[in-house]
Symmetry: C2
Subunit: 313 residues, 2 copies
């Protein structure tokens, strides 16, 4: 009798049911989304092809480890200089042969130390050594899909280009949020000391205090378990004390540099649709039988954006 | 050049500095806590013996795995019936020889399946088969140390008996919150279907939507990395598909049943002191050089309560 704390709590990767007869139009779906409470599964089952998007191969990194591939979506709308540099670094194989050398429990994993002992002699090649800090950007011109609930860390929260984000109308600024899976550019004390070589991935409770204090460059959309379940480092701040504990990186490549036949076919739920609003509502007020008291609230970082394999034609 | 995303972000286990001359009195500390911004390290360095507490052995579980010991503090103030049952189950060795059979990425690990294949024939012994749901309790009579910031999930948040908690003054109810490390009693669809045999531990982003929907019984105060870094199960909801992937539980015992010489000497920061308020303020507004923009906010579940080995006499 495995008694589950929840029986449908997290959104699994879902193969959308293709309705055989009279699929609802998107307009009908939008109307339904507003009118009747549904479970997350019901919302996703009723989604249409237009509710999903594929990743742009020029903004997608494949991080290949011995145990599998993590997929990172880059965010040029938020950090154009860092993303451009990361593209160059990936193209020139900067991370290949380096390692994940830090796993800090309930916080981050980190990789990309150019001085790593035992690693092949590394240079940043034609990437830039110095970049501007990209902690936030002007909100003007950026489509921002607002969430309904209050947040303690930001005046507003929502999604922009598919990324969880905060916004401050008074300052006219918007920024990516440090949710689970966020990928950032490690830096020293100076705000402009990151160049995208050293990257970290959030593996714990969302460290939102870092928002607007460091440059985020994207997020892991697939394969988080390859990073989040790594043994924790026992040195200060989760650095591995023994180099043998590190996880080697076979390669980090841009999807656009990988032969098309070897690319992932993953689709990600769009965050600017009526279906997404219905998804959010299904997380704000859980409708499956397990829940006795729907919360009437959801935090930005409690919304794990669903992904799926595209349905068979 | 390991560039750290933060150089003092998480609170390490701290050995308090014993000041050689004129240590500040607790009253002086309280005054200081209000008057000047300090880093977390400065707050902990200035803490006095009265700012720390030891665990009550009768409310402490030692969970022994091949790789080490996790320490769970039970919360009889919140879930008296479940805690009493768990004490009985531990005393009678219920979990010994069972396993952790679920590791759901960014959510929970779970253990204690009485029907587990391959495990020794198990019974609940003299424990009760049926308990009342203990999702929340009356707030009257429970000391509640309020946090200053708003929370989207609860009207008020704070700490009670050292546990992160929500409170609703209108309903006169208080409940433990699902933060990282929270230990809960798995149940089926019926609210009163948990009996404390099946337990889960939160290993991901705080699933606060479960608050008031399931009975929490305590929290892991030490050794979370033994649970959080376990490989993720590849079956639905993170169940292991191959029994060989499970993590055997050597034993779960009450500290009070363990010879005194074998007990942990861990101390936990009290949550009802002026030092704790200063700690909270140091997390609301980070004062070390890394931070360019203090958040002026902290969420309940972003406050990892510091622990330490007691200073040498």
């Amino acid at each position: 009798m495995p008694v589950n704390p929840t029986q449908s709590l997290l959104v699994p990767v879902v193969f959308a049911t293709v309705l055989a007869l009279s699929p609802p139009t998107q307009a009908e779906e939008a109307a339904n989304a507003q009118s009747q409470p549904r479970t997350t599964q019901q919302v996703l089952d009723a989604s249409g092809p237009g509710d999903w998007r594929t990743l742009d191969p020029a903004n997608t990194l494949y991080m290949d480890l011995a145990d599998g591939r993590a997929i990172i979506e880059l965010a040029p709308a938020f950090a154009p200089a860092h993303v451009a540099n990361i593209r160059t670094l990936a193209r020139e194989g900067f991370w290949d042969g380096l390692s994940i050398y830090r796993s800090h429990d309930n916080f981050v994993v980190q990789f990309g130390d150019i001085t790593e002992e035992g690693a092949p002699g590394k240079s940043i090649g034609s990437a830039k050594a110095k970049l501007p800090a990209e902690f936030s950007r002007a909100s003007a011109g950026l489509d921002f899909h607002l969430l309904p609930d209050a947040d303690g860390w930001a005046a507003q929260t929502g999604f922009a280009h598919g990324f969880p984000a905060g916004r401050d109308p008074a300052e006219g600024q918007v920024w990516m949020a440090h949710c689970y899976g966020a990928v950032g550019a490690g830096r020293d004390l100076a705000a402009d000391s990151s160049n995208g070589t050293e990257l970290y991935v959030v593996t714990g409770q969302s460290p939102r205090q870092l928002d607007r204090n460091i440059t985020l460059v994207g997020r892991v959309v697939h394969g988080m378990e390859l990073l989040s379940a790594l043994p924790r480092g026992t040195g200060p701040l989760g650095f591995y004390e023994d180099p043998a504990q590190r996880t080697p990186i076979k390669a980090i490549r841009l999807a656009s540099e990988v032969p098309e036949a070897e690319r992932a076919s993953l689709e990600v739920l769009r965050t600017d649709t009526a279906t997404f609003d219905a998804f959010v509502e299904s997380r704000r007020n859980r409708r499956d039988e397990f829940y006795k008291r729907p919360a009437g609230h959801v935090d930005l970082c409690n919304l794990a954006i669903p992904t799926r394999e595209p349905p068979k034609q």
